[in-house]
């Protein structure tokens, strides 16, 4: 049975020429070779390394540092610096994570204990499941013509979890925060789905690999810039980036739904927004920026398109967190009004543009 499984893993393995000597050396050792070939099996590699968990963690650690640093620079401060002066405090998020790990996790008396403890762990489900359908070049787990709707549906589960977290916390600010999350969810979700459907209409397919193939010559942003703007705003709203950082407004409701969490539990729920940002930025770069199209780096092999996708995603995330330095926070009613007027009309216009492009047959 081992041999059969090995056959299956080796038949669909990620090839990285630069690491090939190490892989060959590990292949000589019994049992280790099974683990290595299992990890290099493309479906698992997609979820665990790129574009999945490992890339997500790297992007998140970098982007949290970058957010604090760039905000500090614009506000004439220094930001994280002391923990590694030569790197400009780059390992500060890692140090924070370590500190969270050793802090006590307090479950307060009023909380709904089972849900309160298990929901932060369950939140990994809607965050990691979309990686099954997000390809990075040749690395993908499942190729299906329904990839885009599935991803959007799974990402839409995150607000449900946040609302549940707020409910299980059973406290005043958590209640206010989850109510705000619900209202924001109503504000952006329709526009998000309309924009995504516009892109599906424009490309004539919901298969992400096909969509990237169609952007070989020109990125999609040039065909439908209105959809791009609408998707950018929707992402800022969906991940509570700054002009719409309403559910977690720390000056008003003190991290809203996450207020009662301590220790590593807080670390997990706090990064939920960043994970969602990573997912939506991945979608953004695939839909509008040509995904993993880019010059091939021969020594990286299969990892080269994944690297291009990762770089585009991180640059996008940097743009999103940069908004924090410039914008103040909207009121809840202003944000919802914005969602139901500007965003919705922009997304409907982008749908019309996509229909025109489809009818003329430019793509």
């Amino acid at each position: 049975m081992f041999a059969e499984l090995m056959e299956m893993f080796r038949g669909n393995a990620v090839e990285i020429p630069i690491l090939q000597p190490i892989i060959d050396a590990l292949m000589g050792i019994p049992l280790v070779n099974f683990v290595v070939s299992f990890l290099l099996w493309k479906p698992l590699f997609a979820i665990l390394f790129a574009p999945g968990l490992a890339a997500l963690m790297v992007a998140m650690l970098f982007i949290i540092w970058f957010e604090r640093k760039v905000t500090a620079r614009v506000q004439w401060r220094y930001g994280p610096l002391e923990i590694s002066r030569s790197l400009g405090g780059l390992i500060q998020p890692l140090a924070d994570g370590m500190r969270y790990l050793f802090q006590e996790v307090i479950v307060h008396r009023e909380a709904h204990k089972p849900l309160f403890i298990q929901l932060p762990l369950l939140s990994f489900i809607p965050v990691l499941l979309p990686f099954l359908f997000i390809p990075a070049g040749t690395i993908y787990a499942i190729r299906t013509p329904y990839a885009l709707p599935l991803i959007v549906a799974l990402i839409s589960l995150v607000p449900m979890l946040i609302v549940l977290i707020g409910w299980a916390s059973n406290s005043k600010y958590a209640y206010l925060g989850s109510m705000r999350e619900v209202f924001m969810y109503f504000g952006y979700e329709v526009a998000l789905i309309v924009v995504v459907m516009a892109m599906v209409l424009m490309y004539g397919s919901a298969d992400l690999i096909e969509i990237v193939e169609k952007q070989k010559s020109l990125p999609g942003i040039l065909f439908n810039p209105i959809a791009c703007i609408a998707f950018f705003m929707v992402t800022a709203m969906a991940t509570s980036r700054f002009p719409f950082e309403i559910p977690e407004a720390d000056q008003e409701v003190v991290f809203g739904p996450f207020i009662e969490y301590t220790g590593i539990m807080f670390g997990i729920v706090m990064t939920l927004g960043y994970e969602k940002l990573y997912l939506l930025s991945l979608l953004f770069s695939i839909l509008f920026l040509g995904g993993w199209n880019g010059p091939t780096i021969a020594i990286l092999g299969d990892l080269s398109p994944a690297l291009w996708l990762f770089l585009k995603t991180v640059v996008l995330m940097m743009m999103f967190v940069f908004l924090r330095t410039v914008y103040p926070r909207f009121r809840l009613d202003q944000a919802i009004k914005f969602g139901w007027t500007t965003l919705l009309s922009l997304s409907v216009i982008s749908l019309a543009v996509a229909a025109v492009i489809r009818l003329v047959g430019w793509l």
Partner: protein, 172 residues
């Protein structure tokens, strides 16, 4: 009564506002005009005659008690020296660094230093007797740069130099 309305901006003006905000943010992100002095590693250039810790020139002291009289915090007490004259001692638990003593001294026996970040191990040590006062305070300096604020083109900027500030004036 004057009723102030919120300004009605059209689309182009609003977009201009957004772009302006982003431009300022980008400029500051690339080249921040921050004014922070990173204290242990940098030290601000202090003006001359800064009111820091005191040094007593014991040869100039004529035991006139003026410094002890004027001290608003009662930080100066006089103690008898080995030659029978009375000399001042400063209690830094009380001293408010006002330098009235230095100003009132008829002989100019009090000398000022630029040392203002003072630390003692316990309260007894904070009473500096005359023997301790005549020696300059012990320094532990970590800074590599001296920082000063300057106005250039109407904007406040921070100028860093490698030349370290002289905290204790040299004896003439």
């Amino acid at each position: 009564m004057v009723r102030v309305k919120s300004p009605e901006l059209n689309f182009i003006e609003r977009m201009k506002g957004h772009l302006d905000a982003l431009r300022v943010g980008l400029r500051e992100a690339i080249k921040p005009t921050r004014l922070t002095v990173q204290y242990p590693r940098e030290r601000r250039k202090l003006p001359d005659n800064f009111r820091g810790m005191l040094i007593l020139d014991v040869n100039g002291c004529i035991s006139c008690f003026q410094c002890a009289f004027i001290c608003p915090a009662n930080a100066i007490v006089m103690k008898r020296g080995p030659d029978g004259k009375l000399y001042p001692c400063v209690n830094y638990a009380k001293c408010i660094f006002c330098h009235f003593c230095a100003e009132t001294c008829t002989k100019g026996a009090w000398k000022s230093t630029k040392v203002m970040d003072v630390a003692f191990e316990n309260e007894e040590e904070m009473l500096l007797t005359t023997e301790k006062l005549i020696k300059p305070p012990k320094l532990g300096r970590e800074e590599e740069k001296t920082v000063s604020y300057e106005i250039k083109n109407g904007e406040l900027i921070l100028v860093k130099s490698d030349k370290l500030d002289e905290l204790i004036p040299k004896n003439e």
